[in-house]
Subunit: 206 residues, 2 copies
DNA sequence: ATATATACATACATTCTTGTTTGTATATAA
DNA sequence: TTATATACAAACAAGAATGTATGTATATAT
């Protein structure tokens, strides 16, 4: 078999991306060969070079596949849900991400690759900047949430919404990193929800 | 020149470690060749193979060089300083680590390598376990601190010392990761101290 | 004083990887 | 219906990178 229809081609492209994600996960990005990916995808390197310029481009494709839907959801997450109070909204938003990590294999594997199976050098160092930018936008959303919480007099403390948002953001960054590293789940994955609960309770007036 | 005295040999060993740290930092661990390290250290690969079994062993040597003194200090940090109250002790302990990162080049570079220039696969996956164990011991120290804070009625909230310690631990993990990623310093490095300050103030009764 | 182990440098063989080139069957456009 | 671009497979060439084997000058022990 050689020339496929356009749909077939798109399918092979996705198979390559999936295969790359699997191999990146088990061997790390740097140690992964295009031959490894090709074998896993049941194609030859020829197919890979047809669809992608090089390994870095595959990595970006994997990121986009997970990141784009995520960004879409983030916007909803803190603006919708008019029934919940702002602090509950923040809590649910964080918990939702944990649920996604548990349920969505692609997302979980991609996060794992990004956090502990990739070296941020050369082509990849720009990804760090993108990550920091994503963090900024998450921080903005949190600030909005805490501003509304303050306006509704829900807060137990006098810290500024920005300070609270930064603290929450760092907490959640740490949680995600630990979630990923805690492969057997005993230390963080199983308790993630209750850790979030405590974090929010800490700032809610009782 | 060939056979050196024992002191000379130990010096070359250290030169290799330093060179490896520098090259790991700029090229990432996986993409670093023993030849790269050798060139940077002004030796040949022969010298490296004499002192180390392989690249992984050099990586471990770099980690130990920074980690061993760090563990020693951690024990002091929360037990000494009898004049400060427990919450201030925790705060100072966290700030001390930030100061160390700023002042100690070896430590800073090593952290950066461990967090964003290394892929945790094969030989390196066991390092993840070690990291999680270190986290456990840090958590234990924080729990002790918050227990004393609770005993002295310093806490603004009803959360358990364990929950507070977990929250602080995740906050600080996140902070360290962001500190490392924020190379230009604008987003996290410059504010690290005040972020810690806010985090502690959040739980102090006023 | 001499033997031996040490601390490397140098050379070699083998095994990946990569990028490119070439070949080719077929979808698709004209 | 035929020409052309597509979607790959297969072969090729060149350069790394690794581990090992060998050589060797000299501390150091005896």
């Amino acid at each position: 078999m050689v020339r496929k229809s356009k749909e077939d081609a798109e399918l092979t492209r996705k198979r390559i991306i999936t295969a790359a994600r699997e191999v990146f996960l088990s061997r790390g990005v740097s140690r992964t060969t295009l031959e490894h990916i090709a074998t896993q995808a049941n194609v030859t390197r020829g197919a890979i070079y047809w669809h992608f310029k090089n390994k870095t481009e595959i990595f970006h494709a994997i990121r986009e596949q997970v990141l784009l839907p995520l960004i879409d959801r983030m916007d909803d997450s803190l603006t919708l849900d008019g029934n919940d109070d702002p602090l509950t909204q923040i809590k649910k938003s964080l918990c939702q991400t944990i649920d996604d990590l548990n349920d969505n294999i692609e997302m979980r594997e991609t996060y794992e690759i990004i956090m502990i199976k990739c070296e941020y050098v050369e082509d990849f160092s720009e990804v760090l900047q993108q990550i920091l930018e994503n963090c900024s936008s998450i921080l903005d959303k949190l600030v909005l949430g805490y501003q509304r919480a303050q306006a509704q007099n829900l807060l137990a403390c006098t810290l500024s919404p920005l300070a609270l948002a930064q603290d929450t953001h760092l907490f959640f960054s740490g949680l995600l990193h630990m979630w990923v590293k805690d492969a057997d789940g005993s230390r963080f994955r199983n308790q993630a929800k209750s850790l979030i609960e405590s974090h929010i309770n800490l700032r809610r007036k009782h």
